[in-house]
């Protein structure tokens, strides 16, 4: 199976080949379309990530050491980022998720899209995914 970091490097290469800033954003919006809808009953306060300016819901499951999560957000750009995270993390061993030090947000222009409060928010999302993976690996 392709590792998290191998998948990430492939994504970074593909993304950076899109030269234009608007087209990169449009690509993230396209990715947001691929995110499966989160059932309304899972959009609970308990599943909301604290400290995000956009609302983000995470529904995390770890069965037999395998990590999976479903997610949604009220902004499309964040949904695009959540889709990338699902592609990277889902089906991976929880221990690998816990150890994964992701760099795609900084090795692409994605982080530049967010002002500082949203940058922190995305950081909270990734931190929460890794924290829960570490707790149940």
């Amino acid at each position: 199976m392709e590792s998290i970091l191998e998948k990430e490097q492939r994504f970074i290469k593909d993304f950076n080949e899109i030269g234009d800033a608007f087209d990169q954003y449009a690509y993230l919006i396209e990715l947001s379309c691929l995110l499966p809808p989160l059932p309304e009953e899972l959009k609970t306060d308990k599943n909301v990530v604290a400290g995000c300016q956009s609302t983000v819901w995470l529904d995390i499951h770890i069965d037999g050491g395998v990590f999976n999560f479903a997610s949604d957000s009220n902004t499309l750009i964040i949904k695009g980022v959540l889709y990338i995270l699902q592609e990277l993390f889902n089906g991976q061993p929880a221990a690998e998720v816990a150890a994964a030090n992701l760099s795609f947000l900084h090795e692409t222009a994605i982080m530049d899209t967010f002002e500082s409060s949203r940058q922190k928010g995305i950081g909270h999302v990734i931190a929460q995914l890794r924290r829960e993976a570490a707790a149940k690996k």
Binding site: D20, A21, F22, Q24, Y25, A26, I29, E30, S32, C33, L34, L35, P36, P37, Q53, S54, N74, T75, L76, I77, K79, T113, R118
Partner: protein, 413 residues
């Protein structure tokens, strides 16, 4: 006086730059207007040749700085037609002006007294009064808006009571651009025996602020919304009221005599200006006022209104765009949302095209709540914008609507 805006962009070199490889289209002037070269030059001259502390120095630089600062005060008094410069208090902006005024009311308010604001206020003209009421036991009331985003004037008149001590209302809404009938508000409030404060932060390029003609008791505005530096602003107060009001802050520069037993205060406006003022900034603010005056506020307003009308016309033609608020008299700003897109997505994508707008709650959450929204995209042209830039905004929105079609329709693989 001139109506020729053809060369105006030369005064704003910042507008020449590229953003994300595209020509910058700056449409966030309700947040901060760009600063003309003349303002920077005035501040540079102050820093290079006069920089020193003011009011108590007896040396050349101090005298020279004091003279320039007081010239700035005179210029601003003229700019808003105050009766005298003693009615101009320098502050760090409209927010501080309003907070300071609210603080000065603390000791004069009693249980059951009422402060009347509107749902349409910027948080800066809402929270200080709300908190003042919580601390003093006074009653905080807010006039509602109609579905079009205008003040409900019948409700306003009904909410004036014998206990209404002060009405504090925005001249122009920073969220919807609604121009409020401030003359009528002042008249009704005065007939009721209430004082009136006008938050003019968004109104300064809409019309000449004439405090005598408007007959308001207090007025607040910010420097950076008229081409001055950030961290500057004015609280205007009618002199006889400023003489009676206690100061909100204490320290150097605002006293007459300090002894172990007590302190007597300087006369207005110095009574309200504690510590070393933002000398260079205030000189820059006066230079900005002079710059706008050279064009004539009425011509600036006419051009900005024409740009805004074009934006309304072009955006109204896009079926996916929902314009927020439909006031009869709109100035300065236009708020909208794109159906099924978060305002943040729209503003971020416009930024990728080099178009600067603002998204979010615009410090007007009570009004957004009243309209059932959690945010908008807001565009706010200034006189240096061009009609081509408004066209670029509309084209940018069309492009965004096109590329997000699948996402907005909830397409899933």
């Amino acid at each position: 006086m001139s109506t020729d805006f053809s060369a105006v962009r030369e005064d704003f070199p910042i507008l020449r730059q590229k953003v994300n490889g595209k020509s910058l289209v700056y449409l966030d002037n309700a947040a901060t207007m760009q600063m003309p070269l003349r303002v920077m030059e005035a501040m540079e001259t102050q820093q290079l040749s006069r920089h020193a502390n003011v009011h108590r120095g007896i040396h050349y630089l101090s005298e020279s700085s004091t003279r320039e600062l007081e010239n700035a005060r005179d210029a601003l008094a003229g700019f808003i037609n105050a009766r005298s410069s003693t009615e101009i208090i320098f502050t760090s902006g409209a927010s501080q002006s309003l907070n300071m005024l609210a603080q000065s009311f603390v000791s004069g308010l009693g249980l059951g007294d009422e402060i009347l604001v509107t749902v349409m206020e910027h948080h800066s003209n809402f929270v200080p009064w709300q908190q003042l009421c919580l601390r003093t036991g006074a009653v905080f009331r807010a006039v509602p808006v109609t579905g079009n985003g205008e003040l409900d004037m019948n409700a306003f008149r009904a909410m004036l009571t014998p206990r209404t001590r002060l009405v504090s209302v925005t001249y122009v809404s920073n969220l919807l651009g609604t121009v409020n009938p401030v003359r009528e508000i002042v008249r009704s409030a005065h007939d009721n025996g209430s004082l009136v404060c006008l938050d003019c932060a968004q109104a300064m390029r809409h019309a000449r602020l004439d405090v005598q003609e408007l007959d308001c008791d207090f007025a607040a505005f910010s420097g950076h919304k008229i081409g001055g530096p950030t961290g500057t602003g004015v609280l205007y107060g009618r002199l006889e009221l400023l003489e009676k009001l206690p100061p909100a802050c204490f320290g150097g520069g605002m006293v007459e005599r300090v002894t172990l037993e007590g302190t007597t205060f300087a006369a207005p406006p110095l009574k309200f200006e504690t510590g070393t003022p933002n000398i260079t900034g205030n000189i820059g603010l006066a230079a900005a006022a002079r710059y706008l005056d050279a064009f004539g506020i009425e011509y600036i307003a006419e051009r900005e209104n024409a740009l805004l009308r074009r934006a309304v016309e072009l955006l109204s033609a896009l079926p996916e765009v929902e314009i927020v608020g439909h006031p009869q008299n709109r100035s300065g700003v236009l708020s909208f949302n794109v159906r099924c897109l978060h305002c943040f997505d729209v503003a971020s994508m416009l930024d990728r095209l080099g178009i600067a707008v603002r998204s979010g709650h615009h410090c007007a959450q009570p009004l957004l709540d009243a309209m059932g929204l959690d945010g908008t995209v807001r565009v706010s042209p200034a006189f240096y914008n061009t009609f081509e830039e408004i066209d670029a905004l509309a084209e940018g929105l069309e492009r965004i609507i096109r590329v997000t079609k699948g996402a907005r329709n909830g397409k899933h693989s």
